[in-house]
């Protein structure tokens, strides 16, 4: 039945990711590791159509966007990984007509049963985060499983029992753990860094959290209000640099 587990129940495990937007460098390693693991794991295969042609399309469960934010000296480039947030009020689960889309009582992971999914795509319409991708080859919906076939896999070394994206991240921008446990490492990270929900106004109550950008040293964000960039420097103050700076000034505007 497509009912959701009671998220307020004491001790309810809520496995999820915490993504540090300050640390992510947009290398796409998480996206590639996700595709690589999941095309041979739980959701195998993640098909591609026309992969080398003019209009390729394929299923990826994790996408890394890049945005510009702020103005002037406070302007930043932010890499923004986007995958299923394993929402507590997951409308993708309740709209499913067959019960193929479900949220696990035991750990809160949202999954699709590829054997009962009819491929109506309604769950993807219900998801505000664009997290689900239809597999045109398999005729069923695909989504992040939090690498359910890794995190409980006793055949893997202990350090490998985490989602492929987390394991692959070279900068430690992705953290995996139980966000239902207030004392877990991920929960502490969220409270220390002010982790936030995406689109809380829609009421889906995502489990995954995003950590905001840190304040940059030396450049107070007030410069952003003025919209001014710091004047370009004259170099490191060495004799040679000072000479060229003088030549530069002497030659005029």
């Amino acid at each position: 039945m497509t009912s959701l587990p009671d998220s307020s129940a004491p001790g309810q495990v809520k496995l999820g990711l915490v993504i540090d937007l300050d640390t992510c460098v947009g290398c796409q390693a998480c996206a590639v590791a996700c595709k690589e693991w999941n095309t041979q794991g739980y959701h195998a295969p993640l098909t591609d159509q026309d992969p080398y042609g003019a209009d390729p399309v394929g299923v990826w469960l994790n996408r890394v966007h890049a945005y510009e934010t702020g103005e002037g000296a406070a302007a930043r480039t932010v890499h923004f990984p986007r995958s299923c947030l394993h929402c507590e009020d997951a409308a993708c689960v309740t709209v499913c007509p067959t019960g193929a889309s479900y949220k696990r009582q035991s750990d809160g992971i949202v999954l699709v049963n590829p054997d009962t999914c009819i491929g109506c795509k309604l769950c993807s319409w219900a998801c505000p985060y664009g997290a689900r991708e239809y597999d045109y080859g398999e005729g069923v919906m695909k989504k992040c499983t939090l690498c359910i076939d890794r995190i409980y896999n006793q055949h893997l070394e202990a350090e490998d029992r985490q989602p492929a994206c987390v394991r692959a991240c070279p900068t430690g921008a992705r953290h995996f753990g139980d966000l239902g446990d207030r004392d877990s490492a991920v929960s502490r990270l969220v409270s220390e860094r002010g982790g936030y929900d995406l689109l809380p106004e829609l009421g889906y109550r995502p489990v995954n959290k995003y950590l905001p950008l840190r304040q940059r040293d030396g450049a107070p964000p007030t410069a952003a209000a003025a919209g001014d960039l710091q004047p370009l420097g004259d170099g490191d103050g060495s004799l040679l640099d000072s000479f060229f700076a003088w030549v530069d000034r002497a030659l005029g505007a």
Partner: protein
């Protein structure tokens, strides 16, 4: 939103079928057995035919049509499942009503009970169809409270135009049905105008800054991938949106034409010219409904498009 062609055909055809059956059922509830076997049989056959064709069409867009039977299982939470259940359940009162209505010996009380049950189930099914869209928080243009009334009135208007086209050649009740058809078509035009004005005036309250939690201004710097993925194909679909104004006028013009073509039936009651006009009225109403349904999808803006550079949602 990408309009699944089979879904557009389904909701238009089955909507008209439910409207037609509901009106036929109400006629039976009011007047007892069908005035002639041929008339009653034609109404039931066309009504059930439209519904069945629509339901079959709706399975064509599925990745796994052979699993469609599973869709009736989750009626406790899913409007799509409820639609499946009510659509299938409607066949029971439809067949009972058809059986009673076509038999001149049937008791008017039995016909009335079956007719009212059938009309109620038709309305319920159309409401479930509309709620599939109206229950999605992700699409502002679908979440609107006028969506359910629009679906009901569109079903009634197209069903009434078809019933008129069936009735006029038989010279039966053309005046009453002509009035009902014209009123329903006018109501559909008024509701759609209201709906379009409402979605045009409603501000887009969600932005990419809100979707990412980053501080304003936020601009897409580099797309996440170089080719279009499923989300962009499905949620970002906008073919026809550019022509929305013209298509809206076309829908209104077709509905207006359908109303005008219902007039000869109203005035003459029967005859070849009135019959042809009534058939034209039904065709115009159905074509208008198809275009209206296309626009309903093409004008729908999904929240997830924000991540791909949409200005607002």
């Amino acid at each position: 939103m990408h309009p699944a062609y089979s879904v557009i055909i389904f909701s238009t055809l089955s909507g008209a079928g439910y409207g037609l059956l509901a009106l036929g059922a109400l006629a039976g509830a009011a007047h007892g057995p069908a005035s002639s076997f041929a008339f009653g049989a034609l109404v039931m056959a066309i009504g059930l035919g439209l519904i069945t064709a629509g339901l079959l069409a709706s399975t064509f867009h599925l990745g796994h049509p052979e699993r469609a039977w599973r869709a009736v299982s989750q009626w406790r939470s899913s409007w799509l499942s409820r639609e499946g259940v009510t659509a299938l359940a409607t066949y029971v009162p439809a067949l009972v009503f058809g059986w009673l209505w076509l038999d001149p010996q049937s008791s008017p009380i039995a016909i009335r009970i079956a007719g009212l049950a059938l009309a109620a189930m038709c309305a319920l099914t159309v409401i479930c169809t509309a709620m599939i869209y109206a229950s999605l928080a992700t699409i502002r243009q679908w979440r609107h409270p006028i969506v359910v009334p629009v679906y009901l009135v569109m079903a009634l208007a197209t069903g009434a135009a078809i019933l008129l086209a069936i009735a006029v050649p038989f010279g039966r009740g053309a005046v009453v049905l002509g009035v009902i058809a014209i009123m329903a078509l006018l109501a559909a035009m008024a509701l759609k105008l209201w709906y379009w004005r409402a979605i045009d005036r409603e501000p887009r309250v969600l932005s990419i800054a809100m979707a990412t939690g980053l501080s304003e201004p936020v601009r897409q710097w580099e797309p996440a991938h170089t080719a279009r993925n499923f989300v962009m194909r499905e949620m970002g679909y906008r073919v026809g949106r550019r022509h929305a104004r013209r298509l809206r006028r076309l829908v209104l013009a077709l509905f207006g034409l359908a109303g005008l073509l219902a007039l000869p039936a109203l005035l003459a009651g029967s005859g070849v010219a009135a019959s042809l006009a009534a058939a034209g009225s039904a065709a115009a109403a159905l074509t208008g409904a198809l275009i209206e349904r296309w626009l309903f999808f093409a004008e729908a803006e999904h929240v997830s498009s924000l991540y791909y550079g949409a200005v607002g949602a």
